[in-house]
């Protein structure tokens, strides 16, 4: 028996989860369009399909908790509060971007939101998250470091080093694995001896659980519980959110390594219509309200694209700036 939504969160917050998932989806699909037009270049890894993870998890954290992510991190940044305009401008490489156009799609960063970066080396963010958690503990601050990563990252040395370290030093880190089954084109059972990823943490005495990453409420509840545990014990915790990316690894990947049937099966579990259906069924929103939310998300994204198009390129002098203090 599914929990009633109202037993979990008040109506306005439930609607907000829906709004954030829609905004993420609209943003990513617009990025794909801008990429085909040549406005966005370089590597572009889209998040469509995985929205319930970023949205549910972020809702389960405090605003002063640190968030770190990998190279598929637009949604984590936007959901945390980064302005879609400035994120889109960053992807365009414009001076008005969140990192002045120096980071791009894979390196979004906004310390004012405690969004501590997208990192493009698989597994590179693990130790950085542990270090941020150390600094928080050292100063006696009530904040944790939430570290997002994909299933591919769990075979990096830093994964094992950092889990061991976080438990050994008793640091407040919440590891959130987004298992979308594919490290680029290699399916998880072809890269991991133990493909049930959450079970790997027993080697480090870190509690873990698996959650349905297509269900925003399930993710929210799991992360909220785990984050409270981390806060309470000062020790790390681990969540494996099982999800799926609707697009290839990046825009350069036609995803021919997976079957149409598999893709369709997951498409049928799209977290956004699934959640909308529950909102309607439980009388939390009307169709008109949901339509208005969609229209607002589309307008926000259209405005972001316009802003990015109209923004200036960085000055030539910018290449010599921000290297040294």
């Amino acid at each position: 028996m599914e929990t009633k939504l109202r037993a979990v969160l008040p109506d306005n917050e439930l609607l907000r989860l829906h709004e954030q998932m829609l905004l993420s989806r609209e943003f990513e699909e617009s990025c794909a369009e801008q990429y085909t037009k040549g406005h966005i270049t370089g590597f572009l890894h889209l998040y469509s399909g995985q929205e319930a993870v970023a949205v549910g998890a972020t809702a389960g954290l405090h605003l002063d908790d640190y968030i770190l992510s990998a190279y598929r991190e637009h949604a984590q940044a936007i959901v945390r509060g980064a302005e879609p305009r400035r994120v889109m401008a960053e992807l365009f490489g414009k001076a008005t971007g969140v990192c002045k156009g120096k980071g791009g799609s894979m390196h979004l960063f906004d310390p004012s939101l405690n969004f501590m970066g997208g990192y493009a080396i698989v597994g590179g963010q693990f130790p950085v998250a542990v270090g941020l958690a150390f600094s928080a503990k050292y100063r006696g601050e009530d904040r944790i470091a939430a570290c997002f990563f994909g299933d591919g990252a769990v075979n990096q040395g830093t994964f094992h080093e950092s889990l061991n370290w976080a438990r050994l030093w008793e640091l407040p880190v919440l590891f959130i694995c987004e298992n979308n089954f594919y490290g680029i084109g290699t399916e998880v059972h072809r890269s991991s001896a133990l493909s049930s990823i959450h079970r790997r943490t027993c080697g480090y005495d870190i509690p873990s659980e698996k959650v349905d990453g297509m269900d925003v409420i399930a993710v929210y509840k799991a992360v909220k519980y785990a984050a409270e545990k981390v806060r309470e014990t000062g020790r790390p915790h681990f969540i494996e959110a099982v999800t799926y990316r609707f697009r290839g690894h990046s825009m350069a990947d036609p995803a021919k390594y997976r079957s149409a049937a598999e893709h369709e099966m997951w498409k049928a579990r799209d977290p956004i219509p699934a959640f909308a259906k529950r909102l309607l069924e439980e009388g939390i929103a009307t169709q008109a309200q949901l339509d208005a939310i969609l229209a607002k998300a589309q307008a926000t994204v259209a405005d972001a694209v316009r802003f990015a198009e109209e923004s200036p390129w960085p000055d030539a002098s910018a290449v010599w700036e921000d290297i040294y203090v």
Binding site: D110, G124, F134, S135, E161
Partner: protein, 329 residues
């Protein structure tokens, strides 16, 4: 001033900075209870406790990466890698993270952190424990690099490194740890980055060196003086920033230069420095810039052949003589 070893000068620098600033923390393999493989962290655990002086697992990449995160979180970590050879395991965090984070995030953060690492050859430790990797770090923008020669500079440069808001690679030479010298007692004694030291003035040839190579260059200069050659010896102190002004001015004055580096010759930092001198001083140079470097071989264990691979006083004197006697063919 008091006389102390290079090791104790480094130790004093850390103690003074930890007393001054509670955000300074120290970690690395065996740095706390064991007091460091080379005993550079002796007494730190006793004075500052286990919250600030921490033993880590043998996880070099994560030792550096945790320092990156802690620095972003507002601390001033001083991480020790047991030897520079193990820095190769940490190169992802050093090159991809430590050196890049400020830039790729548009200047919205900075990393006030130091990674200390002993290095160099000459102790019969074999190919995997006798490397000089300074050129590796120097090649990458975004890192500050210090490599002190004297105990006074060891103290003054490490204190500057800890106070610097840039990420610093701090190299220490294993064969210098026991060397002694006068060290200022003033806790505000700082040696600025980017200012080379003229260790000896001379008029005929400029020898540009760093760390242990500077001491060999001074010995070579003594030998050469008896033969009537006056050498100016410049100790770089920091490899980034590089004080080009001092060595270019000297080379312009003497008309001749020899660069001495402990790292491998091929693509070594000496090639870069020599090129800078050629480019800036071409019209006043009396001979092409000479180079003395480590041999392009993995370091052998046997004492008798190991010593052939690292620059010696004789190889420096020969190089200087070669430059002095150079004639266009």
């Amino acid at each position: 001033m008091s006389e102390m070893t290079y090791r104790d000068a480094l130790n004093l620098a850390m103690k003074e900075e930890m007393r001054r600033d509670p955000s300074v923390v120290v970690w690395g393999e065996d740095v706390a209870l064991y007091e460091g493989s080379f005993k550079v962290t002796r007494g730190l655990l006793a004075e500052f406790g286990e919250q600030r002086v921490l033993d880590t697992p043998i996880s070099e990449n994560t030792i550096v990466g945790v320092a990156v995160g802690a620095a972003m979180g507002g601390l001033r970590p001083v991480a020790e890698l047991m030897t520079v050879n193990f820095a190769l395991l940490a190169m992802d965090q050093i090159i991809n993270h430590m050196a890049k984070i400020r830039f790729m995030f548009g200047g919205q953060t900075f990393l006030p952190m130091v990674v200390r690492m002993p290095g160099g050859g000459g102790s019969q430790l074999g190919a995997q424990h006798s490397q000089s990797l300074e050129s590796y770090f120097m090649h990458c923008p975004g890192l500050r690099i210090a490599y002190p020669t004297t105990p006074a500079d060891a103290k003054g440069l490490l204190k500057s490194a800890i106070r610097d808001n840039n990420p610093v690679i701090f190299l220490e030479h294993e064969l210098l740890y026991n060397s002694k010298g006068e060290v200022p007692e003033d806790p505000e004694y700082l040696v600025p980055f980017g200012k080379a030291s003229v260790m000896r003035e001379g008029t005929d040839v400029t020898i540009v060196a760093y760390a242990r190579m500077s001491l060999l260059a001074l010995q070579a200069a003594d030998v050469l003086e008896k033969e009537g050659v006056s050498c100016e010896v410049i100790d770089l102190r920091t490899l980034n920033p590089l004080d080009t002004e001092t060595f270019l001015a000297s080379a312009r004055r003497t008309g001749r230069a020899v660069v001495v580096e402990e790292c491998w010759r091929t693509a070594g930092l000496g090639g870069d420095i020599a090129h800078r001198i050629h480019e800036a001083c071409f019209d006043t140079l009396l001979a092409p810039v000479g180079r003395v470097a480590g041999l392009d071989v993995p370091m052998p264990y046997s004492r008798e052949i190991e010593k052939l691979c690292i620059p010696r006083v004789e190889t420096i004197t020969q190089a200087v003589k070669g430059v002095m006697q150079w004639q266009p063919t």
